[in-house]
Symmetry: C2
DNA sequence: CTTGTAGCAGAACGGGTGTTCTGTTATTTA
DNA sequence: TAAATAACAGAACACCCGTTCTGCTACAAG
């Protein structure tokens, strides 16, 4: 009997996620979200309950839509340096495609803007970083079987830090070139360290 | 004849800078600034003209108050890896002193929050990064006289990126320990690369 | 075609925003 | 002591925020 829905909850979450991604949480108003998603205030509240809840759902969706496709190769047990390089290249190409200076990484942005003042966001960010760290550690250990666990962990953690730094940089550069150079330098340092 | 001032413009700028540093621009209201600085709205407007102008002045002050004291040693022509290590250690100790998870770096925060949507902030951030890059390049070239200019520049730029990543991390960690481990890993990678 | 129902757009709301303005206060010179 | 001056505290302002609510719309069942 009822009127059929003109949008799905997934539509809402994904469109809102893109807005939060490029403009951050505070600088995105409900009016912005209504315009960006094409969904009325009522729809947003009945589907998700409010701005903050929508942000958190968008954060989770970012994992499926952006992180997993880019990171899956690293998480396989055949991965190595070339998969790490491909991961950075893929994300840089995505940033260039979206336009530079660009939105960077939703998680990296959340780490700076939200995490220190919002425990829920901090927990999601930490989980994300832990996932990246495990993936990088997997790839490094495949590449350097003789390296100790402590050294691998330290390098993997540092790769997570470098990724965050890279997305920060992507918010001020005009072209992908400096980002590619950063990634290249990082890979060089890694190779240098692994081959000792 | 007039009533004497109870505060200086510098007082205002420095106290406001600390608030922007820890809470960001959007999440700091004029009420917050009045409470944090102890200076009335009228004083803020007559001294600086408004919130944004105050932020930009605070940004400039950050260079003198925080960056220069920490970075001066690296900019001397006798600097090397030990000065780079000391710079990171000093900033990490400062972060620990201010409380973790902490404010990170005002410039790093601005890069994420403001730079993509504010050309004036972007320009100041770029100038800061350029200063860091030159300093790091100076220290690296002192340490590795045989290294080519292009390699030195790439490493110096990457050190800037790592610094930004480190301050991002400082916004989610509970203790300085992981930050020190990151700095140590970075220095190890650098040494490894320089000694080839 | 009528009726019931859920979705819809947008008005309304209290509170907070950055900014401006208005009196008052404290101090120094005359 | 009295007048002049500029800084002070805080009220006032118009606007925007996230949230809630109201009345209308469009479709499916009877």
């Amino acid at each position: 009997m009822p009127r059929p829905r003109t949008h799905s909850k997934d539509d809402l979450i994904h469109r809102a996620m893109e807005r939060f991604w490029s403009h951050g949480y505070s600088a995105t108003s409900m009016d912005d979200l209504v315009k960006a998603t094409g969904i009325s205030r009522h729809g947003i509240y009945s589907d998700c309950g409010g701005k903050r809840a929508l942000y958190l759902e968008g954060f989770a969706a970012y994992q499926h839509v952006v992180v997993s496709p880019a990171f899956a190769a690293i998480e396989q047990n055949t991965s190595g340096l070339s998969e790490i390089a491909a991961y950075f290249e893929r994300q840089i190409a995505l940033a260039a495609e979206m336009g530079l200076p660009g939105p960077g990484c939703l998680v990296a942005n959340a780490m700076t803007e939200m995490a220190p003042h919002d425990p829920d966001v901090a927990a999601q960010v930490s989980a994300h970083n832990q996932r990246l760290k495990s993936g990088f550690a997997n790839a490094i250990s495949n590449e350097a079987p003789g390296m100790g666990r402590a050294d691998i962990d330290a390098l993997a953690d540092f790769l997570v830090l470098s990724a965050q730094g890279l997305w920060s940089m992507s918010r001020i550069v005009e072209t992908p070139k400096p980002l590619r150079r950063h990634a290249e330098t990082l890979l060089d340092l890694l190779k240098c360290r692994i081959t000792k």
